[in-house]
Symmetry: C2
Subunit: 568 residues, 2 copies
């Protein structure tokens, strides 16, 4: 499955659309010169094209499996992982003090997108480590940092997240795993965790689990939860690993896709752990990890969208059917062309939104400015949900472009669609993201939302002279979004916000995407202008239906009882 | 996987919404009394609940396979098929002269929907036979009818369709299979066919293939194609089967879903066939079969939507997470409730559209009135594409409602999503349906379309007094649809119609669905009114974006060259 890194898009977006110049203008990220950025992206792109993309099918057809309690990964994955680790791509944004490159998260996200496009199931592994590195950098003791961070940053050891339990999915506060102080500063962790991505592998020296658990005196609910680092092998204190810890992989799940990524049930039986962050402060520490992981998952969706798009485009340019014009390929048929251009336009919008979210995170980190931090927090659920929905939609269209071959597994189109499906579910379902957006993220009376809308209007104003019609359409959509935001902010009953949360999130993303496309049309070449026109004229009109839905409130939603719903 | 036949919906839709009274008022269908309809639907429903639904998982986990050239079907499928055949459900609408029940197609579609919901992969088998029965009834010689129809109608023999070849997918005219007269009135058929659903099984006495092939003097393209009936075993003329014919199953495909349905590559090597219909007139005969099969496939989508909806609703009423109100189940959360109600409202709309299409077919058959026939022809691509997209969308939401469990195969939600995916592809991709709609079906200068829109407006007028707001919303949407139709009809370049074909089809379906919902609100109970309000207030607004997209024409679509598209 050939893949070509979309370096032109990254360069154009970073230079002209998502304000990456502000990031490199900060003292913290001054080292990220143009030349370095270009070198990094092309180097990572080459690895994705040459090393990771060829692993994609094997990850599907030869799933990770468990053999006598040992996880065996898909053929070639060990080599692929080694290339990622040795390239420094795990710890690109990690602190140089622990071996990282200290680069902006924005660049990590671009590299992550390419790795996701090439081989999503393997890329999930370093994504988990990246989240763990950030959580340890922020919340771990110096001793733990010194012991673990160099190993995680180099990729010699891998990291995981352990939140979910059978009775505690989206409701993390219901968890039952216990942690008992052992008197030597460590804790004995006991309990079962499920849906643990990359819980084990056969290519890293060690696997480090971040586990949410409750101290004996921890109250019920999320406020009684603490976070523990629990390694598979206890460090020997000398940079190596010592004895096994009291944990094991119980079983692997049989999933719809992402077969190359082992998803485990884990059992902890008095395993030794180190507390990360304060007692009963586990959720806050975990959210550090989850927030970036959420953007990271959104970027997975963008990557799969790009992979599925390229795959479908190649098929459609090659396959001949009927009386198509031009080359005679099915890509010349209007409806196929509509699908392909939609895929491209949506992927571009989702990529721009993800990168602009990453820029906001970098700016928040570099400057400490609460406005940037607020913008990052606001864009994160949008980037997660819209990126993953774009991945799912685009992969679905990729299957459709293939016609009958789309349903035949050997063609590969279906794998994108199956693999990406889980991204709308893990790291907080997209429903949870939308609730986060309309509840927590509008708590500032909409100030952050209105600032983002103002930016879109500003862009429309700038394009008014040269692109009057596109400008007007984007402007109008932004004002409808503003009115909808005002309506939501004015609701006193949270249910009225929740009822329209998902269509609001989608409508917001559509308008942000239009702003980015419009800017691309204004500053880019004719092809970017044509792509923007396609998006604004044909896709943006959907905002009206979504935002009308968002303003309906909860009454009509609960007018049908559950018994009514069951009475078909 | 428990399934409950939606008998209340059928009863209400047939009695009050889709004009089934007109069908039973015709001489041809006068036997279909209220009592008979009720008995038939509840009898078929019971079989689906008790016999077919329990086969659903085995069809997925134990796929049909090929053993020494013999197809072995999934465990229990032979018994399931026997129940379908013995119940008379294959030949419900077939001519009583050959053992059929002569019932309206509308009832067959309701029964087909239930079978699809319970076990799609098995239901595809009788769907293929139904299409073959109709093609033979209309186009076969009396001799062939007498030999084959009683066996097909009883279900002792099964039927298939053989159109596609590797180089001839949507472009059927490119086929290469040959038929050479043998001098005794039969033909020697030679060639390879792909994607043959239920090409063989281990539970029917015989399998009868309808094969498109070209006579030696047949010109290239679709006008040189003839249709042949080619049985697996040659009939012995005495109601039994004789020697094997010159055909074989080469291999079965490895598909994303529908594992219980064997999809074969077939090889014909001088196999004996009987011509059906005139020389070089195969496409017309095949279209008889395809047209009803298209509605049948749309109904498959509706069935899977219902199955996935019931499955998700049951999970959501049972699963407890977080601080939900009422029962504490996740179905009380606003965003989950939004998903469930959307699933229900869309399924209901798609069901009403499919049944109204079936009513038009029945009326066309019973009365010969070209207006009914035109309506049937117009609604067929809408019912096919909208029914299958609804199946795909609803199954996708069903996965989402399940959260993490949605991605775990054992939970069953993913199977609906994988199985139904192909329905948007086979029997003419949905893109082909949309092109058929805007090209052939608008050729009457939109007369048929405007008549359907007038019906929606008429319903809005009738609801004006009691449901003023819903009525106004539906009326406005119908007028926007009318303007869009006028715009399309006025285009002289077909590319301008094709460019917006799919959004136009979706927009048309959305408005038709709104008309049916509004009528349900006017004539039904409070729950139907609440469902209709949900649909009209929250889902119908999407028509604006779809119809705006439909009016953009081809220029902007081709502004991006294929090289531009590849230049990310």
């Amino acid at each position: 499955m050939p893949y070509r890194a979309p370096l032109n898009d990254y360069k154009f977006l970073l230079d002209h659309v998502v304000d990456f110049r502000s990031v490199t203008a900060t003292g913290r990220f001054a080292d990220a010169t143009d030349d370095m950025v270009t070198a990094i992206l092309s180097e990572a792109g080459r690895m994705c094209e040459e090393v990771l993309a060829p692993l994609q099918r094997a990850g599907d057809t030869h799933p990770a499996r468990i053999e006598n309690g040992i996880v065996r990964t898909s053929p070639g994955f060990a080599d692929g992982y080694r290339a990622i680790a040795e390239g420094g791509w795990v710890g690109m944004s990690a602190d140089p003090a622990h071996g990282g490159m200290g680069l902006p998260l924005t660049l990590t996200m671009a590299v992550n997108e390419m790795m996701s496009a090439a081989c999503l199931s393997l890329q999930l592994n370093p994504l988990m480590s990246q989240g763990q590195i950030e959580a340890l950098e922020r919340h771990a003791s110096d001793e733990v940092k010194a012991l673990y961070l160099p190993k995680l940053v180099s990729g010699e050891w891998c990291g995981t997240m352990n939140l979910t339990e059978p009775q505690a999915g989206s409701d993390v506060g219901a968890l039952a795993t216990k942690a008992v102080p052992k008197g030597d500063g460590t804790y004995a962790v006991t309990g079962q965790k499920i849906y643990i991505s990359w819980a084990d592998n056969d290519f890293s020296e060690n696997v480090c689990h971040l586990v949410l658990a409750r101290l004996p005196e921890g109250e019920s609910g999320t406020r009684g939860i603490s976070l523990f680092l629990v390694p598979k092998y206890l460090p020997d204190g000398d940079g190596g690993v010592g004895p096994s810890n009291g944990l094991r992989v119980v079983s692997l799940e049989h999933k719809t896709g992402l077969h190359g990524s082992p998803t485990a049930v884990m059992e902890y039986d008095g395993a030794t752990g180190w507390m990360i962050g304060p007692e009963h402060g586990g959720m806050a520490a975990m959210f550090t990890m989850m927030n970036n992981a959420r953007l990271g998952v959104g970027v997975q969706g963008v990557g799969v969208a790009e992979g599925a798009y390229q795959h479908a485009l190649a098929y459609a340019r090659d396959r001949r059917q009927g009386k198509a014009g031009g080359s005679g390929a099915i890509a010349e048929h209007a409806d196929v062309r509509r699908m392909l251009t939609t895929m491209r336009a949506e992927t571009y919008a989702a990529r721009a939104i993800a990168l602009s979210c990453a820029v906001a995170i970098d700016m928040g980190n570099a400057t400490g400015d609460p406005a940037w931090q607020g913008r990052a927090a606001f864009l994160t659920p949008i980037a997660k949900a819209f990126g993953t929905e774009t991945g799912i939609e685009v992969a679905r269209e990729g299957v459709q472009v293939h016609g009958g071959m789309g349903f035949i597994e050997e063609a590969g189109a279906a794998q994108y669609s199956r693999d990406v499906r889980v991204t709308a579910i893990y790291e907080g379902t997209n429903g949870i993201q939308s609730m986060d957006l309309v509840a927590r993220k509008l708590k500032d009376d909409g100030e952050t939302a209105f600032a983002l809308i103002d930016d879109v209007v500003e862009e429309a104003r700038a394009a008014q002279g040269t692109l009057p019609e596109l400008s007007q359409a984007v402007w109008d959509a932004a004002e409808t979004l503003r009115e909808t935001t005002e309506w939501l902010v004015a609701r006193s009953d949270p249910q009225d916000r929740f009822a329209g949360a998902m269509p609001y999130l989608r409508g917001f993303a559509l308008v942000l995407g239009a702003g980015h496309h419009l800017r691309s049309a204004r500053l880019g070449d004719a092809a970017r202008g044509a792509l923007a026109a396609f998006y604004v004229e044909r896709l943006l009109p959907a905002h009206a239906g979504l935002l009308a839905h968002a303003r309906q409130g909860a009454d009509g939603l609960y007018a049908l009882s559950l018994d009514d719903l069951a009475a078909a």
